[in-house]
Symmetry: C2
Subunit: 239 residues, 2 copies
């Protein structure tokens, strides 16, 4: 991954496959803009975002429902046609169908993989046990279990229903103190069960769980994707 | 403007001309998503956003620089081509060139005018004097002065340099307590000078000024645009 170099270098256009959910996409854009740390509008990258609420449900797809793949490929195609060169998708579970996006990617464009990015950020903490906060599809597809277990890390998780209830609450617009307390309770239980690191692996989770209310070191997959996306988009300045 | 009706009616696709500045666009998207008040992703509208940091500077254009018009028209064209049917532009000063957007608008699409929307929200407060927080181009083009004065309302404003300094600070990423205090000082001075209502007429201002730190009734032009955009996008459900 290239280093961040130069004060106001050029950027490649960023394309965001969003809407999974809409609030998580807005959160990702806000974090992305904030992380640019530019003093002037002109020093920012151009960003195209499609917030599409009609991507087939990832958990329902696991149960035999419509595949999100074709809709994700169509969104990627539209973003690429609009000039996007670096694609990011702030939804963990949707990465089970990331192959559909990669299939339409031209050679000069990049798809910044949220799962690979978050796994790298997690392994950088050298955990023995990771507490995974993710929805059913992310578990079922073993998106995090496979790479973390391959690296010798144990993965534990709360009951799937408890995470689903919290995510549904956030999708419904509740990010207040009670929702934050519910997130803390899940994280406390993971820490008690031996997690050295809590991995927020659903983009709704960081809306109610951050360093301020998590009892263990927290890896925010969304924040990792923000950093990796900007690194991929920033053009190196010739020395 | 159609009323908000039904629980989960259909939506027309919303297109956001953004990047003026990038943080203000992210704020607009966050407010828009929050205002939908939907329990599920599928109940949200589809939203396309282009955050383009290369729209020629509005204040520089007033001083003889390049016109933002052609770039805004091109952005509108891309959003319309992507399926947008309701366009919104969260930048007050850029509305001096809104004609360029209207010129490319097909008969079945809508441009929700931020200035008209914010003027209506301001007049609903029945003020005698409005304290206008806006950048130089918004003043120079008399975007708010003309309609408010035509309605018999006096418009007062802080020195242009003071507002420009605050906006530059917010564009540089500073939305902390000191920036909020600077915003409060501007609003206090307007209230002391007789403003019944403070009109936040630059999309960077609400990032540091809200009901919590404004000493007078506040009209947030961005918030008014959010509401008007959703009203224009929501399809009426047949009775």
């Amino acid at each position: 991954m290239p280093e961040l170099v130069g004060a106001e270098p050029g950027w490649r256009t960023i394309g965001i496959l969003g809407g999974m959910g809409p609030a998580a996409s807005a959160d990702f854009l806000t974090m992305l803009v904030g992380a640019v740390k530019a003093a002037r509008d002109e020093a920012h990258p151009r960003v195209l975002l499609e917030s599409n609420p009609n991507v087939p449900d990832r958990n329902a797809a696991m149960a035999g429902g419509a595949s999100p793949g074709p809709v994700l490929a169509a969104m990627a195609g539209r973003l690429l046609a609009g000039g996007a060169e670096v694609l990011a998708m702030p939804c963990n579970a949707a990465h089970g169908w990331a192959g559909a996006v990669r299939d339409v990617l031209p050679a000069d464009a990049v798809f910044v993989d949220l799962i690979e990015t978050a796994v790298a950020a997690t392994l950088a903490c050298a955990p023995r046990t990771v507490g995974l906060l993710a929805v059913g599809a992310t578990h079922g597809l073993r998106l995090y279990h496979a790479p973390l277990e391959a690296a010798g890390v144990r993965v534990i998780a709360p009951p799937a229903d408890a995470v689903a209830a919290l995510v549904a609450r956030v999708k419904g617009g509740d990010t207040g103190p009670a929702a934050r307390s519910a997130a803390t309770r899940l994280a406390v239980r993971l820490a008690e069960d031996g997690a050295d690191v809590v991995l927020a692996a659903c983009t709704e989770i960081p809306l109610v769980l951050d360093a301020g209310n998590c009892p263990a070191p927290l890896v925010d997959a969304t924040a990792a994707l923000v950093k990796a996306t900007l690194n991929a988009a920033r053009l190196a300045v010739a020395a």
